[in-house]
């Protein structure tokens, strides 16, 4: 990560701590609506990689606040697909947190005289979950790269946004189910932090296009490419 993006993330973390107590106002005050606005127009000239990094943090720290909408408001009327793209970044952050909480929990909670993480059944479940989280992280990074290549033109990144949102949607079921299963009853309480990421994940799956919506769109785009054309399109868009 570049030093500039590192600094941006530090700022975001600090601002989101305030926002967790006070609502969206501190995020507005910090100027996040200027993140994507060009420097020439008085903005920060950030790219989608920056948006992705900030939203991954927001997905953990303030999943209930409209941070994505605020950032996109700087673009004026942002394309619907950009809102879907922003949702994927939030989801990636929240899934990473669900995995982190789960690892921490199974390494501390003891049953049968051992940490839960020593049981093979638990290990295998968490491996499955980790694969889903890594997949979403990879998808979101590739989507960000495409958006930056095409200057945030959502139409030119339609394949990547559809694929990333669909992949993230499909990971939600696995990630939330396993995270809750390995936590046991404590994860089902209001006091414990897990629901602060799992409930938003459930919500985001249906927001800005559910699985059926994106699968239809992507499927029709792919049949347009044709069998051989899919590979040619996939490589041409990324080279």
């Amino acid at each position: 990560m570049s030093a500039a993006r590192e600094m941006l993330c530090d700022t975001a973390r600090a601002v989101f701590v305030e926002a967790a107590a006070e609502g969206i106002a501190p995020v507005e005050a910090a100027g996040f609506s200027l993140l994507l606005v060009a420097e020439a127009d008085g903005g920060f000239g950030g790219d989608w990689g920056d948006v992705n990094a900030v939203l991954a943090i927001a997905g953990v720290a303030v999943p209930d606040l409209p941070v994505a909408g605020l950032i996109l408001s700087g673009l004026g009327e942002a394309d619907d697909a950009l809102h879907a793209a922003a949702a994927v970044s939030l989801m990636a952050g929240a899934m990473g947190e669900a995995l982190g909480l789960s690892i921490e929990h199974v390494n501390t909670r003891q049953q049968f005289g051992r940490p839960l993480g020593k049981f093979q059944a638990v290990q295998q479940s968490l491996a499955v979950m980790a694969c889903e989280v890594r997949a979403v992280e990879a998808a979101v990074a590739a989507m960000a790269k495409r958006l930056d290549t095409v200057g945030l033109d959502a139409g030119a990144a339609n394949f990547e946004i559809a694929a990333a949102k669909l992949r993230a949607n499909r990971a939600v079921g696995v990630v939330t189910a396993i995270a809750h299963q390995v936590h046991g009853a404590i994860g089902f309480t209001r006091e414990y932090d897990l629901h602060r990421v799992t409930i938003p994940l459930m919500r985001w799956r249906g927001a800005h296009g559910n699985d059926a919506h994106w699968a239809q769109r992507l499927g029709r785009q792919v049949t347009g490419f044709g069998g051989r054309g899919l590979w040619e399109a996939m490589t041409a868009r990324a080279d």
Binding site: V60, A135, A139, A141, A142, E160, Q216, G219, T223, G227
Partner: protein, 385 residues
């Protein structure tokens, strides 16, 4: 909150091969249009098991094998990520790369890394020409997932190493020139201590290769028996007693490649073509889902390759690619069967590909380490064991 964990994920390595990658793809596609055999479509699925020595020699002559090896051994001195681009193109096209596959992917790099100068000169040029093929001698009847239970022994004598024992499930042994065997060189040693790797010419007296026919009716894998086989001292590769460490590195090469998600691509392509330009909704949904998964797997696989190319050890990432890729490829024929209307015995391309891959698919989560073993490696990477 427990603080932000956004930094804990794997860093995604940027996939930035040097040179003109579009030109590399275009050249290879042009070459394939001239040279890829237009044989049976079923050969194009699971194509890294399709053995075609003529094709391998032509591919080698065109410079697409041993691409990363030094020129003095007949290699192309290309960047590992250029090689990655070439193999993903070959797999996506369903080219019959099975003959040279193992030698190019793992045996060659291993000889370069651990081999003596004599071994390099003896084997690498043939590998790069697409003429010298290798097989993997790890599994034994008593050593499957538990590879450290290997019992095949090699004793050092004045004349050389004397090998006794048996390997099993050895893919392509009957078509290969050499076997890279993991053997116990220290008498009385246990588990992963006392193991070494020997590179053995398969025409050495005392070696017997017996076919095992798989459930698809194919002869791909074999039993390999060693009955007092004498090989020169120079057959030892790398360091005596370090076999376990060397094999672990070899498995990293074996697990991380694009073959883990691209070997059933022929079926996906046939499905897309059969769906036509105005697919019914259930078919469009399935194609969309498969495309999203495949695209994501490609990102993971490229990032893992980039990490490997940067000289780091992507053991866990490679396992993630293998786990997700195997699941993708194993589920694909089942999901296709669930939505398309086609009889088991139909003779069109889609039906035949479907049948072949339904039958082949149980092996995907066995070969190269079982699903359970792979998940165990991932769990260790998460700090759970």
């Amino acid at each position: 909150m427990h603080g932000c964990r956004d930094m804990q994920g794997f860093a995604l390595y940027p996939f930035d091969p040097p040179g003109d990658i579009s030109a590399l793809r275009a050249d290879l596609r042009g070459w394939l249009a001239q040279h890829q055999p237009q044989g049976d479509v079923v050969e194009r699925a699971n194509c890294w098991a399709s053995f075609d020595a003529g094709f391998s020699r032509a591919l080698g002559a065109a410079g697409y094998i041993g691409m990363t090896l030094p020129a003095r051994y007949g290699g192309g001195e290309r960047h590992p990520l250029e090689r990655y681009v070439v193999i993903e193109e070959l797999l996506a096209a369903g080219a019959p790369v099975g003959a040279h596959w193992i030698a190019d992917r793992q045996t060659g790099p291993l000889i370069l890394r651990y081999g003596s100068e004599e071994q390099r000169q003896r084997y690498l040029p043939g590998i790069a020409k697409g003429k010298l093929y290798a097989c993997i001698g790890l599994s034994e009847p008593g050593a499957g997932s538990d590879l450290a239970a290997v019992r095949t022994s090699a004793r050092e004598t004045a004349e050389g190493w004397r090998i006794n024992g048996q390997k099993i499930w050895t893919t392509g042994a009957h078509l290969s020139h050499v076997i890279l065997a993991l053997v116990r060189t220290e008498e009385g040693s246990e588990r992963n201590a006392g193991l070494s790797q020997l590179l053995v010419d398969l025409d050495t007296p005392g070696i017997t290769i017996r076919p095992i026919i798989d459930m698809a009716g194919n002869h791909d894998f074999n039993e390999v028996f060693f009955d007092d086989v004498l090989v020169p001292h120079g057959a030892l590769i790398g360091t005596r007693g370090e076999g376990w460490k060397q094999v672990t590195a070899e498995l990293g090469l074996e697990r991380s490649g694009p073959e883990r998600y691209l070997s059933s691509h022929a079926l996906f392509a046939a499905l897309i073509d059969a769906a036509g330009s105005d697919p019914e909704p259930a078919l469009a949904v399935l194609i969309g889902e498969l495309a999203a998964e495949m695209w994501t797997l490609r990102q993971l696989s490229m990032s893992t390759a980039a990490k490997l190319a940067a000289g780091e050890d992507p053991m866990v990432e490679a396992s993630v690619v293998k786990e997700l890729g195997n699941a993708f490829e194993q589920d694909m024929p089942r999901r296709v069967q669930a939505v398309i209307d086609c009889g088991w015995d139909d003779e069109n391309d889609l039906a035949r590909l479907l049948r072949a891959l339904l039958i082949a698919s149980p092996s995907f989560s066995l070969r190269g380490g079982t699903r359970e073993v792979i998940r165990g490696i991932i769990a260790r990477g998460l700090g759970l064991r």
